[in-house]
Symmetry: D2
Subunit: 356 residues, 4 copies
């Protein structure tokens, strides 16, 4: 969905750049690198049968307060989403999501491809969140059992949304309940789940299985990981399928202990929440500062670490010249993202660029 | 294809174990970890548009002496194989390979799944290598253009084979020429390509595109990488497809610079050949030692770092008790694999266990 | 999209019913049955290598005034659409069509499934026809070459639309030209193409390849066929693929001569146009009669043989009681379809039911 | 698998030809055409909700003595096989069949394509029938639960085999029991099932569900049908899936009553068995005659209506010159097939050609 401006790209090597393009642009957190180093001792059996991965299994169950959850480390968010969804959705099924969802707009049909033609249906809703009435309407309009039509089988939340807003736990519960009435499974695309957990101040369990969620795409890479995403599956049948689905799509790494070690470190001692907490806090500083500055229209409610603003073409040019790196989605629509590594100084420099 | 014995598994944590299960069980080489650390400076644009990945592109072209080759880093060998093959083979095509090939026996239909039903056809041949006459026979027996039958479209070499033998360059050239007569593309599964390059003493170019190969699955993980495999594609049209095929199967990592950094370090200053050289040398020591010992039947010609031996059930039990880790493929058929990290002391201890 | 009311279903066996549910509900035309009978002489080689199918090839080239067109008989419209589209669209491509198109709403993801995950994108436009500006906007908003997004590859017309409206030849030409600028192929879903040809008074060539169309789903079943649809492919490369795509999806009948014989009879001596002419003429009578009656809101411009009207719940009940068979899409929204076998008496009885 | 000789093809229009190429080359039986004609009265709801198809449902249950069997009419044997198999086999599953099976060798990967990459594994066995020990060996060698390997999920019989031999009921029972021990489902490719039923003198139930079969591909086209095949599904869960799988692969015809009418006529008053009985009887005459003549090597046991013989190149030429139509699989290997329409005179003329 995003394309970096040529200006931003050319300044990539500039040490004076101020990075607000994406949390993906940040490096790996020191704790994550240390965990990789620590896992690099001795030998270990391949393909996830190792002790580190077994330990990750326990870590996930503890963090999510769920005795039978199963975790499948993968190396991209698209893999986590598409594999989780295909395990929950039959080929003739449809996945319902917000019309701005990443799985609908930015994964190039991955779920359809891996899932044998499953369809994605975008739903409307303010604040880039699915509206309960939109979900009800969609489910009511379906001819259930009529094979001319893909049958809604999964509801997918993007939490936080691709536009930086978050569902409250109550909203998740309400939407899941509507889905459950018609037998749909529920998926949560948590590419930035830590940012949402911090924002809501709830437990991971409250935001997921206690709210009716069957599967989570647990993102770590955007929040300090090196290359570590995972599927956390609460549905036992779908988990059994994932054993096969991950392997035959090439998503079982041989030295899985290195993915698992990252994820253990990430989920231990609240590292994930501390890293996300920094990103969120810096965004609050930025948004507050911009509001005080005036003259900049904020498009979204910056619940987490993403802010979309409308600025003039002239301002866009000035920001680039000041070394600010960002995505321009459309002329005048600018995306700013903070990360675990964004500093208050970065924010101040960004605000200075805007103030100029 | 392999299953570790229960005994071997339980001794996993034992510091006294002697690791000969798989080169996948070894850790990452220090140079690889250092490269990751070095890449973790500043920020970088995601999804492979970064400078490190651009540099990898040049490194690959230099190492393979090919001006237009394109490299696609992925995180598993199955991904590299299946994606390369689907870019070369239409859905109604067939991939011809040796009947012991990994792509046929150990990837759970990955190529068929990602390639819309492409078929795999196993060919016979001594030493676990495709025999020219078997290839000719297969191609002659096809009803070309008859849609009742999948049309052979790709010849795939496993070099070295899953049983540790290598094609000579002359053999590759001969087989490629036969394939080329019928318009087939040629793929080389190089999960252990460095071991083969070292063994043959040829250049990477001589073993690949100069021998008629269109695409290489370039393995690094088994030979000291952390999680780094790649497709090296010499066919421009197929490379254009891979841009899409990698993304929509979830095989484009966001922080790709960390994969790319591993691969640059791997291919630089002959690191890959030095690491593979150690594995091959230790295997030569082991095989020579076992031959001197007597009483052990060697199944394959240990061209690289894998040896298959037949031993009695009693000996299997004794080897386990001595702390030797290995795979037992079938009762009495034992696989021993050396790696970049195997030491001469490991070999001596293994030989001692056999000698007992 | 359609579901017959229970009332309508129960009266199915009633000889007094007045059939306006679907042109699919009509039987086969006598000329079609006679052609099948005539083809049932002697023996013939299977799978389309027979003389009758060879003759059909010539018939299609003559009727469409195209020297190299190739025809592929199949037995359902979904097969014709999905196979034609997959031959024109890569797995990472998207098919653009009107948001009410049959291929988007009523084929359960067939194209995605057979095409390895190709996406369908619905476009807006009045009269259930794609608006040129909607097409331009869609093409302008795409990030061409960015693998995060399915790449528009085919524009598909439904001619006539599922709501009974038709594009003029000039509209087809304009839209095709826009598509062609970006390298898209063009498909025409002609499930009711004969009705459109009659309506427009143009030649089949003018409505198809002369207007930039690369492939046609040529419907015959709805218009007097027994079980005969076909793909007419003007694109030589895609035709080569269809040889394989039809077979491996199970869409090559063994006794193809019987499909081919239907299609030859259908296209000979303007039978298809005469049959469609009856359907269109009866609809004109019906629509004119309803307009004269008043009190019924016409939803669409009944260019061909389909009319959608809004009536009260009470009237719906009365119509059912009078023996009128029709689909009620939503409460109060009624679809009426005429066919090759609809008589003026049927229309008069329908009008009488409305007038009551 | 078969290719007609050029000579045979060129003589296609010759009234003096003696047809022994394929039962597919025969026309439709008069009773079948009459049933189509009879079904062409009045109108009927489309897509299989019609009364004729409801009646077929009952007919199938009666003929197969099974209260809950469900029938899905399709228009090709490949569709019946591939759809039945995909409903029984997960994408990561494997279908075990004889190494000469049609589903393995002559359907161009249809099951893999429609089934998301399911694999086919060919088993050995004399007389072109799966040997129990080959089945046991295959099942014993599998690493159950290891996702590196496609998991055997379905055993498929070809009854009769593509080489004209038949399993006894006892053999089917034995093989099904072995499959059942490992949880496999069982499919029977009955493209020529009527010929086998006649041969064995058993009931359709005894050869299918009473012998452990879960799904049957019920062929009718080769045995006097116009275009009518069907899946008879005894497994309720798989039947629920077929509702969707048939539609989205384009295998639900709109005027299904015409397929259903063919199948009702076919299964009524033992028409299918009478037609197959003629084919079998003519083959017995032919095989007996050839044995008496001498000088011709019979390759298979002609249990039903197919005979494979080895003859000299010179004899092949003579047979062609005599107007005999047949397939030559390989130089000197000739296939002769009788059908419902083969006459004793045809056989006598064929014998005369051989005797010359």
């Amino acid at each position: 969905m995003l394309r970096v401006s040529d200006a931003a790209r050319s300044s990539d090597r500039n040490v004076r750049v101020i990075e607000f393009r994406s949390d993906n642009a940040a490096g790996a957190a020191p704790e994550i690198l240390a965990a990789i180093q620590a896992a690099n001792v001795g030998t270990a059996i391949a393909y996830g049968d190792d002790d580190v991965t077994a330990q990750l299994q326990q870590t996930v169950r503890t963090v999510f307060e769920h005795d039978t959850a199963r975790v499948f480390p993968v190396t991209s968010g698209t893999a986590a989403n598409a594999l989780a969804l295909t395990a929950l959705c039959p080929p003739w099924g449809a996945v319902l999501c917000h019309e701005t969802a990443h799985i609908l707009n930015s994964e190039a049909g991955a779920t359809s491809m891996l899932g044998g033609g499953a369809q994605m249906i975008g739903l409307a809703g303010d604040d880039f969140l699915i509206a309960p009435e939109a979900l009800r309407r969609a489910l009511d309009s379906i001819r259930w059992g009529d094979p001319h039509h893909s049958q809604p089988s999964v509801l997918s939340f993007t939490q936080p949304s691709d536009m930086g807003t978050t569902y409250t736990v109550a909203q998740l519960v309400e939407l899941s309940a509507i889905a459950d009435e018609r037998g749909l499974k529920v998926h949560l695309d948590g590419a930035r789940i830590a940012n949402a957990v911090v924002r809501l101040g709830c437990s991971p369990a409250e935001m997921t299985w206690k709210a009716g969620v069957d599967a989570v795409s647990l993102g770590a890479t955007k929040n300090g990981g090196l290359s570590a995403e995972a599927i956390v599956m609460f549905d036992a049948g779908a988990a059994d399928e994932l054993v096969y689905r991950t392997k035959r799509s090439g998503h079982v790494t041989s030295k899985m202990r290195f993915q698992s070690a990252q994820l253990i470190a990430y989920l231990t001692d609240d590292l994930w929440l501390r890293l996300a907490g920094n990103a969120n806090a810096r965004m609050t500083e930025l948004a507050t500062g911009l509001a005080e500055l005036g003259g900049v229209e904020l498009v979204n409610r910056p619940d987490v670490n993403m802010l979309f603003v409308r600025v003039s073409d002239r301002k866009v040019a000035e920001l680039k010249q000041a070394g600010l790196l960002f995505y321009e989605l459309r002329p005048g629509l600018v995306r700013l993202v903070t990360s675990w590594s964004t500093t208050t100084e970065d924010v101040e420099r960004a605000l200075a660029a805007f103030a100029r």
